[in-house]
Subunit: 484 residues, 4 copies
């Protein structure tokens, strides 16, 4: 869960990267960084915080260079934001900088080997040194040698990645994992070439989207602008479905599918399950009344709620208002304060909710902690609260970059059945998207739905699985911060 | 355009005020402050920035006291945020602290008189000293003396105000201007009493709304909890209509009217004006096609767009996506950068907008600068853009606290007719709410609509008007920041 | 160990106080503060750090007022700099601000009584409330009532104090403890009146010294400039001898005695003890050779070294160089680093020290920790190191404001005899000033030498003594920071 | 006027460099930086401020690497501290970092050539690229190739330099300009090797001084510890005399001469000129009385004052006290404040100065501005003030690194004779060191005394001279900050 950008332009491009990172800020708010290649030197600025906090007029002016890469980072459990912020840089034997979105499952294979030369605990830095090693031999690089190194890299790394990389004064490299699990696209603005995790970055930087990279493909843009494209290790597509469900911005298009339209469709698919039974009650919900009103949990689920309202004919209302001025962290020192924190973040519109049968639409339910709080806020005033999730039950951890908790913390895994989950969340009714509904809504054949069905696109050895789960601390941030 | 809170509780209340200020943050983001009365001393902390920036766990812990007031400030043109941040304090002859929302038109009458004892350029500080002077005489205060002073104050001050005031160790005072132009309400939580500009503050602090103060009314809560309520100088209600249109939060209820429901109604009223003519085109819009889609300008106009869509039957879509991570200021140093800034702030969903006849709903149009930029962003992809404003044409400056520009900067004043405004904004069509529609939507008899019709609730001498207009610098912030 | 200043002027005086505090910075580097009376309000700015860190052009400009007091604080063990920084303020029933130098031994008598209204753990704040209470009765103050309150205060408080106090809009009050233990003097600049702990503050502010306050005397300067002086509770003088030995600046004159001249005299007195015996060796130093060179430990002991060199005829050399750029704290993270820290702070001039018999002059020896380190630095190169202290052996704790450790940490108490101390410090020879020599050098009849002879000027009940000793944590700062 | 350090050790050395920079802080307080070579990467941290401000426990921990260089910078007029802070880094074709003390007179020869690859306005960065270019050719470096490049560099660069340079993973390079104008020495600590501008850095880092580098010599320490020493372009020594007079620390030894002993000797030489004439007055001083007292201007001239006092038999007194807590800048906003600033910085000991004939010893007189202020402070109390400078008249600008003003600002140049200078300074008498006295005191044959006699060690073309003078802004810092 990170965002990356790379640009080769005709003039200094740090400000373009900055604009692009602002547009990708939703993919990571923990740290941000830009590395530029300036003729004889890589200039680097990275730090902890939002893009707008890390970069100033003054430090952006110092980031000279016509080639640059940028990164926004979502710190996963156990990481140290300061050390782990990207891009990472190496000077010997080749001056390079890398920005990586994804997760290398087997990075600990090389951890020991590269121990001396890494400064972080981050798999991305290990990948940089692995790639650097694949390049080595003699010191004069060529495009063919670079592609050979990428191919060797792809053959060894088990996991997901979108990567942009500055290679000396030679050019800008971009490549995507064989299964195309993490997103990566190419754009153009006149003679300038860019790569980005999501198409919104192109909109913000004034570039036009050209196309998505294919799984196992690499593109190298030489300093003179020559573009080399090569399919190195293609495998069946396994695009992460969660990008459309929750993670990407609605105004992005990923692998040809508009995120907004997918979410509308998710709402419609979900709406098909909201049926009246013969008694005029909701089908299969223990006599719960049909909803008076559809309310999205702001902001992600708004398009889905539109689709659902259209599909069911139930009135859509903005019955939950989010405080726009509260950042991810704000102090609530007393116990009582922490309990009331959700009221400060999210508040109901009394006239909409009071005494109503409410259908609450959320994008997904992970641990259930936040969902429970939201249901609680609404239930204070509503007659009943039915929760609908645009994502099917999440029952398996993700090893490809989405920071889902360990299995024992996933409410859809720990609770034995739908009614158990419903009770846990304190809701009067609960409807999940079906796996088929999800696939129809996205409309692409090659999807990774491992967190839903346990079918991982690459081998996950048991030992590795245990090790990885252990390394995830109990304190999860996703659930806490989703509605911050 | 500020927010105020006052609480008298049974224990330290600074954290409650802090929570309330977070909920009122939309009323002012330039400075924040809290003053507490702690037995023998007024403790004050105020500063420039957001509530979450000014207050820390550490400084809130130092703010001891069972009585406290708080303030968030929207800095108007020409003000110096550091000096003008509230609350203001006086120690001699009575230790008091004040927080004020509104505008005293004739504050310059006393400016000279109090020159020596003010530290800011703020009318609110002048009001504190005026009130302090009214109290004077002998040093032993009583509730009656306090009410007499408030009455004398009301008789002299021409303007609008909601005021909360700590009065020595005696208690907490709240009062509202005779016309009830600025909002102020009372809430309770067990034995604790609170006052706030909007009801959302009560939700955030765990208080229940009791009632709005009436115009010209004062309430004094003694230290022992005894509540004194007195109507001192009531005049016909002239509630500011712009609170419902734009300023207040949708989950607030002001003077008995839910802001959310008023906005839904504003959309419906506006929808009545969107009619098909005999040729199947939009009535009175020079042959413009009927819209394919209704798109709200996020976030204020979303409920209105819902109402309009329902009224007209046109499909509502979230075709404009706002970047949630961009604060009011972010750097865009180059000229080209500044021109692209709107693209970074607001982006279209291509699948929704491309080739469509779009009906864009915005809450209001002031200078027109921002509206023009938004229309421009949508027009890059849409077939046509029709702009609908939930507020009638704003043609007169406000002297009661809304930071509307001088008349010569109001696009509805400078352009001679609707078509002139439309051209100025670059739109293909333009529809304004009617004054009657606005009044029906709000549904209250006593409204101030001076910025629409020029009928000011209190006398505005010509000389004063000129002087006030002069004092407003050309650089306006409202327009610039509305969609930030 | 603090510094205080008070000024009543004809114009704003905050900048004068600021200059005076810069000159008194050696009396306390932990926090600084200024309170001004501005017609109807006390303006306060205080914070942790040096005077130049706490005050800026911008915040000084906000400190309006013709009467002001200031404070620099030396945080004693266990204190919390942020809370305990001065001045302290009270608003009810009289707006006042106080700055205090000294120590109230029995402040815990009222601790419980004032618990609700204090915000710090500082005896000074308790004194403010005690004085405030003495003033109370009716609300109209007069000079007589103020003097009566001071007298009642003096009768109750066991301890030492120099105090300056803003009293409403009435004027500026200054008073000194009955034994005149802590210093306080009055100065003038035209019609402006000032009070300060040391005369250097007058030099820095452009004032002329008028006279020292007498023990038990109070001076009140009315707003119109009228000066009232009154002896309220005089007792025999017991001036703290450590002001001349170490604490005050050499360019100050205290109670009529130039600090510089006293230190020269201390060196001469000490020199009388450095005698050659019949064998040409140092008398009473076990055959140690007479010194080749006299070296002061910079900076305090420099004048004493001059006096000693003149008295003995031994050559004075600046053989120890202090790093001017190291503040009190600088990081030395590794164990090895901490051990080398003294080398970074103080370094020898090899050509002066190498192979020489060195006489090192230091102002005083408290715990002996720092002295031991300095002796060690010099011994690396010198043939022998003889240490001479301008202060007699410190064997008893101080209860009047000097942060001497508890008795069990005083090297002159724990070691049974001179030779024991010498060994502990790692020196080859050791000479202490005699008590008579000290008294001759200062040349004033009334001195407090309690830390040397255990004769305290006021009663120290055993229970109180134990309690106070307990409250002093093991980690002492004086010794550590003396040569920082 | 900068300080440099380089270390190759067996473990991480950043903390050693940090300690060394603390000891060299007097050579530059404007910026500080450390670059480390960590196997595959150069880690860099630099910033504006003191060493203790730029470095923290946290950022020092990140500076991994067994080879490192460090720099403290004295910003000359017109420089931008942030951009110009050192070390500078280059990645392509060889990863290197450089720290430079000195001045390249002809750096503008290559300015245009390297324009694209420099990020600062600093000659030091140009030198890095010049050296990098000399190295180029094939990519595999050897010690011989490195020495060849240094020799070619020395042949081209007109100016002064001590330089330390990290060269890839190969090792640490140090070299000194042909005339040995700027200081540079080598030290050892077991197997660890270090280079530093002054020997005090070795003391602080726990190294032993080995020897000074010779003019035109280079030393390269390979990663395995092998040391290569080579004389590349030796020329007659022209050591800068101002290092001993003012710039270096007294506890340093430069080119075999103890700075302290030189200053004692300077005082003695100066003392020879203070003679009684037949009338018992000072010889050649228009009837001025012989001084009662010798007072050093703290801190630099203290040893010289000792020497002078010994030579003349006049009593030495510490009659001027410097405020230890005032940094280089402290606010003094009002005009009156600025005039009094010197009183806050330096104060007289009245008992020493009052009514006396004072001989003030200062290290040097440049513009005379500060000297005039100090004379003024003393004259308020003294009977007469005679100023003695341990440095002969400074009449020519320096082009080798000392930030002397342009000629028209040098008081010894603009005033026609000694009496003119004396009057300008407001002194009653004035004595300068003679050039011969200076040479005798330092006792080395090869000295640069260009600022005294105009004989520059390298060619200074007229055009260049004019250009350089122009680039120096009127606002000089040396004079202002000398006594801060």
């Amino acid at each position: 869960m990170c965002g990356i950008i790379g640009i080769m332009g005709k003039a200094d491009v740090a400000f373009d990267v900055y604009r692009g990172l602002l547009a990708l800020q939703h993919r990571g708010q923990d740290s941000a960084g830009i590395a530029c290649f300036d003729k004889v030197r890589i200039n680097l600025k990275k730090g902890v915080g939002l893009v707008s906090e890390v970069f100033t007029d003054s430090n952006l002016s110092l980031l000279k260079g016509k080639t640059a890469i940028g990164h926004v980072r979502y710190a996963t459990a156990g990481s140290t934001p300061k050390l782990d912020s990207q891009p990472f840089v190496v000077d010997i034997p080749h001056a390079m900088a890398i920005a990586h979105n994804g997760n290398a499952i087997n990075y600990q294979d090389w951890d020991e080997h590269f121990k001396d030369r890494t400064e972080s605990c981050c798999d991305s830095e290990v990948l940089l040194h692995l790639f650097s090693e694949k390049l080595n031999g003699d010191r004069q690089l060529t495009v063919d040698k670079i592609f050979d190194a990428v191919k060797a890299f792809m053959a060894e790394v088990n996991g997901s990645y979108g990567i942009v990389c500055l290679v000396e004064n030679l050019g800008l490299l971009a490549f995507r994992d064989p299964h195309a699990n993490r997103p990566l696209a190419m754009g153009r603005r006149g003679a300038d070439v860019a790569f980005a995790s999501e198409s919104v970055a192109f909109d913000a930087m004034g570039f036009d989207m050209v196309r998505d990279l294919k799984g196992g493909e690499a593109i190298f843009v030489e300093s003179d602008g020559t573009i080399h494209e090569k399919s190195l290790l293609p495998k069946p597509a396994k695009h992460c479905m969660f990008e459309w469900v929750y993670f990407a911005r609605p105004d992005s298009t990923l692998d040809g599918k508009s995120v907004y339209e997918v979410r509308i469709a998710l709402g419609k698919e979900l709406g098909k399950a909201i049926q009246k039974d013969s008694a005029g009650k909701m089908q299969g919900q223990n006599g719960l009344s049909m909803p008076d009103v559809v309310i999205p949990v702001p902001d992600t689920s708004r398009p889905a709620a539109l689709g659902l309202a259209e599909q069911t004919g139930i009135s859509l209302q903005e019955g939950l208002i989010k405080n726009r001025y509260i950042g991810r962290t704000f102090i609530m020192p007393t116990q009582e304060g922490r309990e009331r924190a959700m009221n400060v973040k999210l508040n109901t519109v009394t006239s909409v909710v009071k005494g109503k049968d409410v259908l609450l639409v959320d994008d997904s339910i992970v641990r259930g902690t936040t969902a429970k709080k939201i249901v609680g806020v609404v239930k204070k005033e509503a007659k009943s609260v039915h929760l609908a999730s645009t994502c099917p039950p999440i029952q398996y951890p993700c090893f490809y970059g989405i920071d889902f908790p360990i299995q024992s913390e996933l409410v859809a895994y720990t609770e034995k059945n739908l009614d158990g989950i419903r009770k846990k969340l304190g809701a009067d009714g609960l409807t999940y998207q079906s796996l088929d509904g999800l696939k129809r809504a996205i409309g692409l054949p090659g999807l990774c739905t491992a967190c839903l069905d346990g079918h991982y696109p690459t081998p996950i050895p048991d030992a590795m699985r245990k090790k990885l789960e252990l390394s995830r601390s109990a304190e999860r941030k996703k659930v806490e911060t989703h509605y911050a």
